[in-house]
């Protein structure tokens, strides 16, 4: 309770300072005021454009996550299973991994236009590497002893893949899920800022180009809320999908 009160006090102090100091130092043009931001936010929320743009951005982020995630898992699984392939491809993968994927955005615009496709693909290219690396680690993490024990139980290679390797990789992917979704959002928003006609990134850059500081803050707040919602959903999805992880703290720990 005290914690909540303290948090509210900090928030109130911050907003009050912003509200009072911004006009006092004649910085309203750059900083706007919470009241103006609230009005701006209410305007986009009440005419429905907020939900339209947020919907577009969510769609891009989630599609990008699913596409990049599926490809990342497939490639991670293949590399994990065939070390020769992994060894051959290693320098290429490392090079692409080091490249900031945002640098590919202009190329994607050239190839796919400024529509939703390009955002999905940029988000996917960011998520791909995160999921790929997690999956690859997951597959490699399966110990040779574990596989030997399964083989002694009579497991065929196919059964090994589906009973041990894939579930192990998936549990690693779930572990990376919470990491990947915010990155998918980064991909979608950056792509929208670069070139688009809808989405929260478009709303943001649109307001900035019109020197609408209050509108810019309103868009940032909308992005924050979307990020919080996505994080919340992913967290609960993770709990639901990986019940064995959450169960650990039930037990007394032994050090």
């Amino acid at each position: 309770m005290i914690v909540i009160l303290a948090r509210l006090a900090i928030l109130a102090t911050f907003l009050a300072a912003w509200q009072l100091l911004s006009p006092a130092f004649d910085l309203e043009f750059f900083l706007s005021t919470p009241a103006q931001v609230a009005v701006s936010f209410w305007a986009i929320a009440s005419n429905g454009s907020l939900f339209y743009h947020a919907g577009i951005t969510s769609f891009e982020a989630i599609s990008g996550f699913l596409l990049g995630g599926a490809l990342g898992m497939a490639v991670g699984l293949a590399f994990g299973r065939y070390p020769f392939l992994a060894e051959v491809m290693d320098p290429f993968v490392t090079t692409f991994y080091s490249l900031p994927k945002v640098a590919l955005a202009p190329l994607f615009i050239l190839w796919f236009g400024i529509g939703i496709d390009m955002k999905v693909i940029l988000a996917a290219s960011i998520v791909f590497f995160l999921v790929f690396l997690n999956t690859y680690t997951g597959v490699r993490q399966v110990s040779r002893e574990q596989l030997a024990i399964m083989r002694l139980m009579g497991a065929t290679e196919r059964q090994l893949v589906f009973t041990v390797i894939v579930p192990s990789a998936i549990s690693w992917v779930f572990a990376g899920l919470r990491l990947s979704v915010p990155y998918a959002l980064v991909g979608a928003i950056v792509a929208e800022i670069i070139a688009s006609n809808r989405g929260l990134g478009y709303l943001l850059s649109g307001a900035t180009t019109q020197f609408d500081t209050a509108g810019t803050f309103a868009a940032i707040i909308a992005i924050m809320i979307l990020a919080i919602v996505l994080n919340f959903l992913v967290k609960h999805l993770e709990i639901w999908l990986t019940p064995w992880r959450q169960s650990a703290p039930d037990r007394e720990i032994t050090v």
Partner: protein
């Protein structure tokens, strides 16, 4: 795989004690420049509980790997029921200090793994896992995940999983190594009971003298690396020994002392080699 499967029922109806269940003939094994086994000659009779005792890191586990068909000897050969072991030997079940349970499966579904692999029906799997859960005393934890279990319960779960596919021979590599003394005693009792009931053969690797004497019918003492057979000892202890009171049995104490005496020179030699490496 198939001809081994055919052999099994015949062996049950007509126990042929003349053919050893596991036999090493002059088996040697090297990993690169390091030799871990040297000319091991050893016969294990069906239904026997044999402890393999030696300094840590001497190469005892390699013998289990040879029996399981995970490794091939560099020289000599390993045989199972008279047949040369050339690939994965599915007649054996392996359990190590690490229980290798699948963390995303509940206890029941972990035990069911070998049954699923063998294509058992849902109903049969359910019935069999119920039996096994009861046997190892984990009924109340059927739907728990391994991460919710204590070390001893995880071992029980791994034991139940091995019993689910009912291998003829158990290869146990310090399975109770990481447990506290009381828990280890309880699991040792369970293991001996289960083995006696089912007539399974057991190769049990340990470096614990007391454990070897308590569990085994026979104990093989290995030299420091490269491991070769130093002594083979038959224990003069009753089949139906009570592990809880065994430590007060003067005969047990005698056997322990005898074994220690045989083992210590090898410990010194292994220490000179640089211990565990």
């Amino acid at each position: 795989m198939q001809n081994i499967a055919k052999l099994a029922p015949a062996a049950e109806t007509l126990p042929d004690t003349s053919v050893p269940i596991v036999e090493f003939r002059n088996a040697s094994k090297s990993f690169g420049a390091m030799q871990v086994l040297q000319d091991v000659d050893l016969k294990i009779r069906p239904g026997e509980f044999v402890c393999l005792l030696g300094p840590s890191g001497c190469g005892k586990s390699t013998l289990l790997n040879l029996t399981a068909g995970l490794l091939q000897p560099s020289k000599g050969s390993a045989h199972y029921r008279g047949e040369k072991i050339t690939g994965i030997n599915v007649k054996t079940g392996y359990m190590t200090q690490n229980d290798h349970l699948l963390p995303w499966r509940t206890v029941r579904r972990n035990i069911a793994v070998p049954l699923e692999l063998a294509g058992w029906s849902k109903a049969d799997t359910r019935r069999r896992t119920d039996e096994l859960l009861k046997k190892v005393g984990l009924e109340a934890f059927a739907d728990s995940y391994p991460s919710q279990l204590s070390g001893g319960m995880r071992k029980r779960c791994a034991l139940a999983r091995i019993l689910a596919y009912d291998p003829e021979t158990l290869l146990l590599d310090e399975p109770f190594g990481a447990l506290d003394a009381q828990l280890r005693l309880l699991l040792q009792i369970e293991l001996r009971n289960i083995v006696r009931e089912s007539g399974k053969s057991v190769l049990f690797v340990t470096h614990d003298v007391d454990e070897a004497v308590a569990l085994a019918d026979r104990c093989v003492v290995f030299s420091a690396r490269p491991a070769s057979v130093r002594h083979v000892i038959n224990f003069d202890l009753p089949e139906d020994r009570d592990l809880k009171t065994l430590r007060y049995n003067p005969k047990y104490q005698e056997e322990c002392a005898r074994l220690w005496k045989l083992l210590t020179p090898e410990l010194d030699r292994q220490a000179a080699l640089g211990g565990k490496s």
